[in-house]
Subunit: 399 residues, 2 copies
């Protein structure tokens, strides 16, 4: 609300903060559960106990009625105004595979695809080629040169890769070339100036290099975005922040604000618990933990799977928490109602436990209880201040 | 939220508004009270009756997570954005003793202190000298001259005084000279330009004048602040406002926004009730009444004392109210949880009674009821609009 106020008041201490994000956590009543939500139906004894010792509230990811993508939703949770700091998909994808993006780089997502003899896209994912094939094809495209620019093509997963153009004066006013539908032609490269010319040249050469291959005989590009450095979270809030996320996208958005990424081995909640321990041991005092499956099952409209994803997280919590946190925040980045199979704008339940809280209002973690919780309903960007305050990391304002 | 909107709509009428501030009122659950708060535990039949006839809500003094000092917290209640209008301790102290500050004056707090032969501070309060001694010493320092400036030294209470420098181009970038700890030397005067030179000269002469006295043989200075005129509350909101506060700090912040101060004799709630009557008789229609002890006992961590302070206020209320108010607002400036012994960021319970309210939601004045109250949770700066509206002092917006 007040630009720079929290930064001015932030102060270091030894206390440890956990921000655990259950992706897509929020939901709405579903007849499948007699009007309850998956969170209300799930057995979550650990989070309920944290609720009793703490306080609930709701957060609005961007603005009332606005459905956020994952990038802006996470930026809000980290205390970054998601409208001021807009980050494109291409940038997130590149950061997610740990590509060392520089200020001014133009990044885009690539989908390997299959086109027919007439140039129509017949499979937007080229039959979901293996990640191994993706690596091979990406390395072929990585050899493409564009005069006056560096070009890097990096594999992501299955049919997904990303491309980064590096040079002076690049802009990201390039529409997606992905038609979004099969049986349509690729959208010709539009936009303006140097970026358009570079992308066009790249697209032509890529099509040429892939044309005799099958099924991945062409590419689609989307999410063009120029990378701009964001102010570092550690500097802004006097933190030493780390991320423990399994998916590239979330590792990427965390890197964007300067968090140190920790690898989880195995790539499970148990592996994440170990990574959390590692980060704490190494002196990090703000840890972002990301749990994806609740969102995926929401997008699939799979209520039992969403309940399981929440319960699985609850069962793993003790192993994450036993390394010692002073302040624990559990929330979603946004709502993904099963009945919508989409992200939505609905306020997201928020739990903060640890530090001085107005307790005794809520007894279990649910959308319903969160509505009347002691924390009230706030913008997601306010959460960082509550976490810092709860950990004694915010000085008093004024005399 | 919309700058200038409330001012545009404000209109005069005869109705009387009371803003009663129980300082530090808000609290959090304490095990000492089986999870209740002092306000929940206190017997407050009068405020409960006002609640039944009125409506509850919560206010956030500055921003979520931000703990306010008393100055900004009160400015918010008076409808002044506390981040936009930042007022330093020195200015508040000078206003509190009714010193007629002018725009551009540089003010600071003085503590008379004891230094040893080596210049180390051995008592930061000079054994809490009497107010009488303070007057004598202040008058000695008042004789100090600094070329090109006026210098005024005004006694406050016990070891506390304040100094005001008047002249062109003064700035307040002077750090405290108070080391904040005993057995440390005074901090040498730093900062820049004219102000630093003036303060340095003043400090040298003060040390010289006091050196043979005991125990107050030197001074410490802190809270340097240049006074800037604030827009007058009466002009902004078409009010005729008065304050009834026993402590200098709160009289000071009220003067800052243009309230007329009324003296209470005796300096008790009964004396304050008489002062309120006096103000009403003289046609004031917005009266700010300040009750301090709830905050002091919160800072002492003394739960029974905080309960007593609240109950004492409740018992005195009928004598304050019987002179006739159309709209009564009772709230705190911030929370001072006994378990923290500090100001805090927690939302503050708010009661508005009188005028058309959505009644029937809350039945007693407490943090818990306030959370679900009809007024909702708002920023403190919104309260003035609700009070004006409840008193019929806000015109309709638009046709």
């Amino acid at each position: 609300m007040y630009e720079g106020l929290i930064e001015e008041l932030a102060q270091k201490n030894e206390r440890k903060i956990l921000l655990a994000v259950i992706d897509g956590l929020g939901d709405i009543s579903t007849s499948e559960l007699d009007g309850r939500t998956p969170l209300e139906a799930a057995e979550t004894p650990v989070m309920d106990e944290l609720t009793v010792a703490g306080a609930l509230g709701c957060h609005i990811p961007v603005a009332r009625g606005v459905t956020p993508g994952s990038g802006p939703a996470h930026l809000g949770l980290f205390g970054y105004d998601p409208v001021k700091y807009q980050v494109g998909r291409g940038v997130l994808a590149a950061l997610g595979v740990e590509f060392p993006l520089q200020h001014g780089d133009l990044a885009a997502r690539i989908n390997f695809c299959t086109v027919d003899g007439e140039g129509k896209v017949i499979d937007r994912r080229a039959g979901r080629i293996s990640t191994e094939t993706c690596r091979k094809l990406s390395s072929i495209l990585d050899s493409i040169t564009v005069p006056g620019l560096e070009v890097h093509v990096v594999p992501v997963k299955e049919h997904r890769a990303c491309v980064v153009f590096r040079g002076e004066g690049l802009t990201d006013d390039i529409p997606d070339t992905d038609p979004g539908l099969v049986d349509h032609r690729k959208v010709p490269v539009k936009g303006s100036g140097k970026s358009r010319d570079a992308v066009r040249l790249f697209q032509q050469q890529a099509a040429e290099l892939l044309k005799d291959r099958h099924p991945a005989n062409d590419i689609l590009m989307r999410g063009f975005a120029v990378h701009r450095d964001l102010p570092c979270m550690n500097t802004r809030f006097q933190l030493n922040s780390a991320s423990v996320a399994l998916y590239p996208m979330y590792r990427g958005v965390a890197r964007l604000v300067g968090m140190k990424g920790f690898d989880s081995s195995p790539a499970t909640l148990q592996g994440q618990a170990k990574a959390v321990e590692d980060a704490l041991t190494r002196g990090f005092d703000y840890i972002f933990l990301h749990h994806k499956p609740a969102d995926s099952s929401g997008e699939d409209g799979n209520v039992p799977a969403k309940i399981r994803a929440i319960e699985e997280f609850d069962r793993a919590l003790p192993s994450i928490l036993h390394h010692g946190f002073d302040v624990i925040c559990i929330t979603g980045d946004h709502s993904t109602p099963c009945s919508m199979k989409l992200h939505s704008w609905h306020p997201v339940p928020l739990l903060i436990s640890g530090g001085p809280q107005r307790t005794g209002i809520s007894s279990c973690f649910s959308e319903r209880e969160a509505l009347g919780g002691a924390l009230g309903t706030m913008h997601s960007t306010d959460i960082i201040a509550l976490l810092l305050a709860s950990a004694g990391k915010l000085a008093k304002f004024g005399a």
